[in-house]
Amino acid sequence: MHMKKLLTPAVLCLGLILSACSSTGSVEEGAGKVEDRNAGAVKTVTPPSSRSQALAALRDPNSPLSKRSIYFDFDSYVVKPEFQSLVQTHGRFLAQNPDLKVLIQGNADERGSREYNLALGQKRAEAVKNALVTFGAREDQVEAVSLGEEKPVCTEKTEECYAQNRRADILYSGEF
């Protein structure tokens, strides 16, 4: 479920988001707001032309919007200064594209309690969400969830690897 794997299909999906993207709306049961997000993204139909530029920016590797990961210090959920501009870029982008939604997935390295790491991942995701809202995103455009230590992108037992896993990813509609 992490970015590297998802980027390619996600990008394809984004192009098709308003027609029949197979990965939108396929998840979840629909009990609460969380589950409605995909359906909501699909239903909020606007003419493709009005969004194509925005979506192109998201998949342009030279665009600052292509940077989607925020890394955290050990045991910390503070968004560090070096990630402020990344978050600001996405916050403003969301403000300019009010029909877009994002999912923030928080992650933790494998050390310590799985449950505490799940809560820590949630705090990291919430910290990014709050920062996005500060920079102009609407509260209901952003959902924060945690994968805890259960979905590591790196599985070696090294500090470098742990640092990669202490992370929150910004996923746009169609990428999750």
Binding site: M1, V27, E28, E29, A31, G32, K33, V34, D75, R111, G112, S113, R114, E115, Y116, L118, A119, L120, Q122, K123, E126, A144, V145, S146, L147, G148, E150, K151, K157
Partner: protein, 451 residues
């Protein structure tokens, strides 16, 4: 002998019938019945059916030497009870099995005390097995102290073939209790998660990790299994819906329901002592806080109110308190609050990372994971004296869980690059490794004794 017989009737007895109705699965083990010619001394050669094998990696203090001769009539049984009892006791790390060769000792016979004492046995188990018709069996057992030449008491079990193994574990528990003064745990079960590639299995096993059967198989992570107080259900967190949701799973039927599936994360379930509610960690209001939800489903009641992470709730056995992990003081520590919510008090003070609490059945001991100079280790805190011990010498310990008698703690740790289960006695003297070939095992939860 008369006298024994009378005591025997007084001591008596409860039916096993309901037990394996909920076990459901232990009969798988019985297909390979080993001939009785196998000497008891061959304990090291555990049957190949065991998916996890126990290896005692440390033992201290004096072991209680005990002899477990064959039961009279044992060859009529579907499984070798005396051998299973011997294995249970040997694997506890507090008994030493005394080899008595082919000795057979009926329950109603006074043992040859002098001979047994001379062989080094402080105690002996006498027993008689009899088919009683309708596919049922009866086993009577009695424990004798060979030094004091005393009858320590007997018990009778009636059971069907599929309950033979569970009966053997109950007999081992009986011997354990007669010789140590505290109940055993061999008839209890473990729940744990095995990861193989991208496949996750929640497995239920016997107390030593053997004879496990899957309760749930998923392509997404499963964490945090927790037993209901009556041992019929397990609650857990499954990511199968692409986010953490808490389920309650009826083991006998395989039926399950999502008990906490709210906005955000739903995790860290713990049954209340009456089995009617789950304490859970939910992020529906933003950050992880502790709530109570009825297992029948329904609206959650918020119990903790902090602006920090609150998670990993567990009830004290008397139901008065909930112990939990919180970082409200700046680092994760264990706190407790009244079970109905309200002001919390801090419980752990040593170190700056104390998580994953579990409380012993007498409410006196707390086990948790502590970070000790960069190593994550199982710790034990005496809640009365405030004495704290570190029980493991490893560095990747997780998920400690008390045996129902409070004398052992099972936990997950890393060994050779993958997860294994270990058990350690609360005095730190006995350490067991429950190893599974080729599998990554984690998230153990020790279940209650069957009722």
């Amino acid at each position: 002998m008369r006298c024994h017989q009378r005591k025997f009737v007084q001591n008596f007895m409860f039916s096993m019938t309901s037990v394996i109705a909920m076990h459901g699965l232990a009969h798988r083990a019985f297909h390979r019945f080993l001939p009785f010619m196998v000497a008891l001394a061959a304990l090291a050669a555990l049957p190949a059916r065991a998916q996890l094998t126990v290896e005692i990696t440390g033992a201290g203090g004096r072991l209680i030497p005990v002899a477990i001769p064959y039961l009279a009539g044992e060859e009529s049984l579907p499984a070798p009870i005396s051998q299973i009892v011997s294995q249970d006791l040997a694997k506890s790390g507090i008994f030493q099995l005394v080899d008595v060769g082919m000795m057979r000792l009926p329950e109603d016979q006074i043992p040859d005390y002098a001979n047994l004492a001379q062989r080094g046995a402080d105690a002996v188990l006498a027993g008689t097995a009899t088919p009683v018709g309708a596919g049922q069996y009866e086993v009577r057992v009695r424990v004798f102290d060979t030094r004091r030449q005393a009858d320590l008491g007997g018990i009778l079990y009636r059971f069907t073939p599929s309950q033979t193994r569970a009966t053997a574990h109950r007999i081992a528990d009986f011997v354990y209790e007669k010789l140590t003064g505290v109940p055993g745990y061999f008839a209890s079960r473990l729940a744990y998660v095995v990861k193989q590639g991208s496949r996750y299995e929640l497995r239920i096993s016997e107390a030593d990790g053997s004879n496990s059967v899957p309760a749930l198989i998923s392509q997404e992570p499963i964490i945090s299994p927790a037993w209901s107080p009556d041992g019929t259900k397990v609650a857990y967190v499954s990511f199968e819906a692409k986010k953490p949701v808490v389920y309650v799973h009826e083991l006998a039927t395989g039926q399950r329901r999502a008990v906490a599936n709210f906005k955000g994360s739903n995790s860290a379930p713990a049954f209340s002592p009456d089995g009617q509610n789950l304490a859970v960690a939910l992020t529906r209001d933003g950050i992880s806080q502790i709530y109570l939800v009825p297992i029948s489903g329904g609206a959650p009641v918020r119990l903790s109110r902090s602006s920090a992470i609150d998670t990993e709730p567990v009830f004290s056995p008397d139901g008065r308190y909930i112990y939990f992990t919180s970082d409200r003081g700046g680092s994760p520590q264990i706190y407790r609050m009244p079970a109905s919510g309200g002001a919390a008090e801090r419980v752990t003070f040593e170190g700056e990372y104390n998580v994953s609490p579990d409380v012993s059945s007498d409410g006196k001991l707390l086990t948790f994971v502590t970070r000790n100079q960069g190593r994550y280790q199982v710790a034990l805190l005496d809640l009365q004296t405030r004495q704290q011990l570190i029980l493991s010498d490893s560095s990747r310990d997780e998920s400690p869980s008390f045996a129902p008698n409070g004398r052992m703690i099972v936990y997950a740790s890393e060994s050779g690059g993958r997860g294994s289960l270990f058990a350690v006695s609360t005095d730190g003297k006995v350490r067991l490794r429950l190893s599974a070939e080729g599998a990554d095992v984690r998230e153990p939860a020790w279940g209650p004794l069957p009722r």
